[in-house]
Symmetry: C2
Subunit: 206 residues, 2 copies
């Protein structure tokens, strides 16, 4: 087995030739194309997805959970079929740098996370994540190679069984708001959220 | 002015030659590539984005709000630079079929929505959205051409000024959970969400 096919060899080495089936250059280009810039967190997210995908049955229909709304949702959306809009990706606003993929029928999967106990081996990544050094001292030219070089050595990954958040969200019953006349989900009440005072805009008169 | 450059002519006609700069064929291919299948709601979302982009200053840095987590987030993510992970797209879980783009400095923008009063002109779209006919009677081969044919005729669009949800979300202070040892946002409490009992998984022993 060479290091492409032997996960153990690849893990011991840290750095990988391909991540999510891409060369590092292609990976960074895909990230920039979708996310707008090469965010360090997204590169770490790609490493997480790559590790989990290697462990999972490639035939499984995998849904995803991310534990932060920063960066990681885009890693899942770029490198798996799961998106927010198709309902296969759920986002927990916990600011934890972890994500899971799981077989949506068997509810078995894997969770990968940035492991603080392993971050000592990569001071730039540690200082960036814990914000112990100013951003200006940790530009992309320093951080991105440090992350690619560390590879899975800064992560941990464990098998999990889903006990919550694994149901796909159904659309609510559709009604017509008696105030504004727009369609809305009747689960929010007897009028739409905006007409309940939750609205985020004022109409500008032309 | 031909119908490409004259919004009024294009609107009166309904059907458009290009949507978000794409031919209908390219549009559908992009939707399928990202979303996994050609969801009718995403085609409508693309028409909304297209209309708003035509009205907005092309130099404006536009952030987005969608009022449902179904389909519309992906329309924004495919056809604008805004994504969930870069924080430029906010998702309100209201099940209202509407989205807004706005200048993030001036807070001025436009909201487009599926207009029930106009849906009578397109019975397949009306029956699909209001669920008054079973899905099996409204396959994509019927719905997608109906939507493309209707174009903006089933939508409304209005200028808005943002009064909420326009602040970009900052990452919370990062701490170390005293129970599990993972990094987490201290805004959620004295331990991470999972260790507070919100966890979505059980670790599987190997």
């Amino acid at each position: 087995m060479d290091r492409h096919t032997d996960p153990a060899a690849r893990k011991a080495d840290g750095k990988q030739d391909t991540i999510c089936g891409c060369t590092p250059e292609t990976l960074l280009r895909k990230i920039e194309g979708f996310h707008g810039f090469i965010a360090p967190g997204l590169v770490i997210g790609a490493l997480m997805v790559d590790w989990i995908q290697e462990l999972m049955d490639p035939m499984a229909e995998a849904d995803a959970v991310v534990e932060t709304c920063h960066c990681l949702p885009d890693a899942v959306q770029i490198f798996t079929p799961c998106t927010v809009g198709n309902g296969w990706l759920k986002i927990l606003d916990w600011d934890q740098f972890a994500l899971s993929l799981y077989d949506r029928f068997k509810l078995h999967g894997y969770r990968a996370w940035l492991d603080l106990t392993k971050l000592q081996s990569s001071p730039p990544v540690r200082d960036w994540y814990m914000r112990t050094r100013p951003k200006s001292e940790l530009p992309g030219e320093v951080l991105i190679p440090a992350i690619l070089n560390a590879g899975r050595d800064i992560l941990s990954c464990a098998p999990i069984h889903m006990i919550r958040f694994h149901h796909r969200k159904k659309k609510g019953e559709i009604g017509v708001c008696p105030v504004c006349g727009e369609a809305y989900s009747t689960r929010v009440g007897d009028r739409c959220s905006s007409c309940q005072g939750e609205g985020y805009y004022q109409i500008v008169e032309p």
